[in-house]
């Protein structure tokens, strides 16, 4: 397994390599130092895995716990067994690949099948908790009760001093009772016989528990509950929502409306009114159905898809054409100072793309931009605010940004074509155009075609340029949707997911999957075509 590859170096060197390889292989599977290091290293790994297991089992995440067990066993087996050298080198990389690439991909894929977005970003338990929290309303004009938290046999009580000076004690679901024998300090009760008063530190140690306590003012719950936000003062609250755990419904105590879980990820009343926040649920193919059936999405989706294809195709075509033309010109030996021209040609490639796009956006300002003011003598050409001019401007800027890459690539490919072929064709009487068309271009395409395909895929998702140059605009104000004339699919996804107050990550992920399918499909078809090009040789 560790035999070095056959090379044309002499037999002596080869055997030296072979010896070294054998030594490494031996060392990999033997020697007490190695074994000790192995045990130590794997010990650390196993210790951490066991700690992780404790945590996971306690939080009842069985799936991840199972994965940790499987991965740990696998790692131990790989490193304790003899041989398996490739596995020993590959295992860490594969584990990282799984965590940072495959998991992330699958997870974003999974989001496409949920309603994750504004108002649905956590679990049902969180939603219930949050609804109950925000439904606590302070009783209007109710006083601020001074509070001391007391403890007796592990049970917490509130000792409150009412504004009129009377002192009462109460606990969770134990209504306030007036007491007479409290110790007072500056008019505020600070202690009671038989109870321990908690200091600020003690309160902090039990803050979750204390924050959850609500002390009824009287036997009638409608009078409100005392709760404390900081441990030193209490306020009177009434709750406008009531959670019925058995039925899984929320009841508005003021209006009597019952909101129930109807499977849409939010408590909904019979009239269809939703309580937000809701929670995240799996919605199956809903997001995909929406993408193709909702008019406000379908319309722009189609026009954006068409423009995305046009943009990606034209970008590749124009940059390649210009790059190739320049490469041919600069490849001609009759051209003088080629070196310097080449350096200038590459400059656009050296600037960061998004910065260039921003600079271009400034230069294309209708009234104050460099192009209109200096080059066109004050003409007010709406470069970025007219639908078609904006599309043209985008293609032009992308040409400026992209041709140096094509220039570099084609220069290399041209130089790799043997001179003899051109000479032979010339001897056969071919004109320069024919030589280019029938000899150079096919040979060039063999090596450049895969790059053109990847360039197409890159431009298909060229978010930087669109975002910085036009941000998808100009918008058609009569369209009624937030999509502009130069938006490509990826910038539309960005707008769906991250612009405005209402985000819809589920729908955006569904779009991302659609884009992935499109790009992958094109790449597969194009690579098949490229194979047929190779058969030319």
């Amino acid at each position: 397994m560790t035999t070095p590859p056959e090379t044309d170096s002499g037999p002596i060197r080869q055997s030296a390599r072979a010896r070294r390889a054998t030594r490494i292989a031996d060392a990999a599977s033997g020697g007490w130092k190695v074994v000790a290091a192995k045990i130590l290293g794997l010990g650390v790994v196993d210790a951490i895995a066991i700690y992780a297991l404790f945590v996971l089992v306690r939080s009842e995440s069985w799936l991840v716990a199972g994965l940790v067990v499987a991965v740990t066993l696998l790692v131990n087996w790989i490193y304790f067994s003899r041989g398996k050298l490739p596995a020993k080198y590959l295992a860490p990389g594969l584990i990282f690949l799984a965590i940072f690439q495959i998991f992330v991909l699958l997870y974003s894929g999974y989001i496409a099948f949920t309603n994750y977005g504004t108002g649905h970003n956590s679990t049902k338990a969180d939603a219930v908790n949050s609804l109950l929290l925000s439904s606590q309303n302070r009783v209007a004009d109710s006083p601020n009760y001074r509070l001391t938290v007391l403890e007796q046999l592990g049970e917490l009580s509130f000792l409150v001093t009412e504004p009129d000076g009377s002192v009462s004690i109460g606990g969770n679901e134990r209504p306030l009772k007036e007491v007479q024998n409290a110790q007072l300090e500056g008019g505020v009760a600070v202690g009671l016989d038989g109870y321990t008063s908690l200091g600020f530190q003690d309160i902090l140690g039990k803050q979750t528990e204390i924050a959850a306590i609500s002390v009824p003012l009287t036997d009638d719950p409608n009078d409100g509950m005392l709760r404390t936000p900081d441990g030193s003062s209490a306020f009177l609250y009434t709750s406008s929502l009531e959670y019925d755990e058995a039925a899984g419904t929320m009841r508005d105590t003021n209006s009597g409306t019952v909101y129930s879980d109807i499977g849409t990820g939010a408590f909904t009343s019979d009239a269809g009114q939703e309580l937000l926040p809701g929670w995240k649920i799996e919605v199956g193919l809903d997001n995909f159905v929406r993408a193709f059936s909702e008019d406000s999405i379908r319309g722009p989706l189609i026009s954006v898809t068409v423009w995305t294809f046009a943009f990606a195709f034209l970008s590749v075509f124009t940059t390649f054409a210009l790059g190739l033309f320049l490469a041919i010109v600069f490849n001609d030996k009759r051209m003088k100072s080629r070196k310097y021209y080449r350096i200038i040609m590459i400059l656009p490639y050296a600037f960061p793309g998004f910065l260039s796009a921003l600079v271009w956006a400034g230069m294309m300002n209708q009234e104050f931009g460099f192009i209109n003011v200096v080059l066109l003598g004050g003409a007010e050409v709406p470069w970025l605010t007219n639908e078609w001019l904006a599309k043209g401007s985008i293609l032009f800027v992308n040409l400026w940004l992209g041709f140096p890459y094509m220039f570099l690539v084609t220069t290399g490919a041209l130089q790799a074509i043997p001179e003899e072929l051109t000479e032979a064709a010339t001897v056969d009487g071919a004109k320069p155009w024919a030589i280019f068309r029938f000899v150079k271009l096919p040979l060039l395409l063999v090596s450049v075609a895969p790059l053109l395909i990847s360039s197409f895929a890159f431009n298909f998702n060229n978010f930087n340029l669109i975002y910085m140059l036009t941000n998808g605009g100009p918008r058609d104000v009569s369209a009624g949707v937030n999509v502009g004339a130069t938006d490509i699919l990826i910038s539309m996804v960005y707008k769906v997911a991250f612009v405005g107050a209402n985000r819809d990550y589920g729908l955006a992920s569904a779009f991302a999957i659609i884009i992935f399918i499109l790009v992958a499909g094109i790449a597969i078809i194009s690579f098949r075509r490229t194979k047929s090009l190779e058969e030319l040789n």
Binding site: V34, A52, R138, N144, Q201, L204, Q207
Partner: protein, 410 residues
């Protein structure tokens, strides 16, 4: 042998991290549990500007209460989304700094807990508390209030204009290139800066409920005043007073160069003008439609996570510490944003610029934080830009109003 040893160590380290990451995915909420209850540390997200002041305040807090405060620096613009994403996982902070118009999204996502200011509420400026409220519930402690006003170059225009037309006349009389400057975007104008003019025609975005909060069901933007405002936008666009090609950067540049006596902007652009040697005065925004021109006010403050395990300590920190005069004044001195605590604001008003913006702010209204506002932003600016650039005012404005209504209805 040596090679192999190293490899093994590397492998060990990698696997360790790997299993940590794997467990991290789900164990996060649990590790938060571990640290909870002991009340040992409060995690606070702040932006770089405020971190320095908070550092001292946090040290004082720790000295007094024994609660350690961990300040995590974040990009201000990133805080909102990261907070919404992290709170449900249990890994989020206990306290974040933020802008009041994030509140609607925070509440709809259930990531913030109500804050009880108790009697302290009266110590803050009313607009600060209103801004920090959502559906009658207070969710944050305000610390700064900011709004736009008319910045006047006193060398070019000696007196305060009473109306928009008077201002334009004065601007023309000054003989500068532009009678009036406001930064707009060629694509989306700038509804935030144009809003005071809109309100002067009696066309707020939303109507208000009895308790002063915005009512998403009462869309007011398309009323008669709205139509008049739209027509006015068209006129000003045609006259060249409003020009969507003058972006925010250009407007600032031209004002500093003395090319206009009037500039509608916020306190953030004033230091640059003062440094350029311009003697500025802060004036109320002149009314264009007859009624008072009310700009939006932006309030910044502190919010507590709904999943904070240190709720009491967090409340103590933001209400009694961040709400103290000392800290509010210190925050003002660093950021130059007018404090929300009335006592600190009065002290800060010794500076005529702060006082000037403050006076304008008395008429200001909080920017709506209800999620329905998202639908408004989506259509508002592009329509304004289209009207300024010569589109048909009434039909575009009504179309916008209709689109917003549809978008809110969902």
């Amino acid at each position: 042998m040596r090679v192999n040893n190293k490899g093994l160590w590397a492998v060990g380290a990698l696997t360790v991290t790997a299993s940590l990451v794997l467990t991290g995915c789900t164990a996060a909420s649990d590790t938060a549990d571990n640290s909870a209850g002991t009340g040992e540390a409060l995690t606070v997200w702040v932006d770089a500007d405020r971190a320095a002041v908070l550092k001292d305040a946090a040290a004082d807090f720790t000295a007094e209460t024994g609660v350690e405060v961990k300040l995590v620096q974040k990009e201000f613009g990133d805080i909102r989304d990261q907070f919404i994403a992290q709170v449900p996982t249990g890994k989020g902070p206990d306290v974040v700094i933020g802008a009041h118009d994030w509140l609607g999204t925070f509440v709809t996502n259930g990531v913030v807990a109500p804050v009880e200011l108790g009697d302290k509420a009266d110590a803050f400026q009313d607009v600060g508390i209103t801004a920090m409220s959502y559906e009658g519930q207070v969710y944050g402690v305000p610390y700064s209030i900011e709004n736009i006003a008319l910045v006047r170059n006193t060398a070019l225009a000696p007196s305060t204009p009473a109306t928009f037309d008077e201002m334009v006349t004065m601007g023309e009389a000054a003989g500068t290139e532009y009678p009036f400057l406001v930064g707009l975007d060629p694509e989306a104008a700038d509804p935030y800066h144009l809003y005071p003019f809109q309100t002067s025609f009696g066309a707020p975005v939303f109507g208000t409920a009895a308790d002063g909060s915005y009512d998403a069901d009462a869309l007011e933007i398309g009323n008669d005043g709205g139509d008049k405002f739209a027509a006015w936008l068209g006129e000003q666009g045609a006259a060249g007073v409003l020009n969507t090609n003058i972006t925010g950067d250009l407007a600032k540049e031209k004002f500093i160069a003395g090319e206009s006596p009037f500039y509608l902007t916020g306190p953030w652009n004033v230091p640059a003008a003062v440094e350029a040697g311009i003697d500025v005065a802060i004036d109320p925004i002149p009314s264009a439609g007859g009624e008072t021109a009310q700009p939006f006010v932006g309030v910044q403050g502190f919010f507590v996570s709904s999943k904070s395990e240190n709720a009491l300590a967090a409340n103590e920190f933001i209400v009694n510490y961040m709400g103290s005069e000392e800290v509010q004044t210190a925050l003002f001195e660093v950021g130059g944003r007018a404090p929300a605590l009335t006592a600190s604001f009065e002290a800060a008003s010794a500076d005529p610029i702060v006082a000037g913006f403050g006076t304008v702010g008395e008429n200001a209204v909080p920017m709506p934080s209800i999620p329905a506002m998202g639908a408004v932003w989506e259509f508002w600016g592009v329509t304004e830009a289209a009207i300024i650039n010569g589109g048909d005012a009434t039909s575009l404005w009504q179309k916008m109003s209709g689109d917003i209504e549809t978008a809110i209805a969902g």
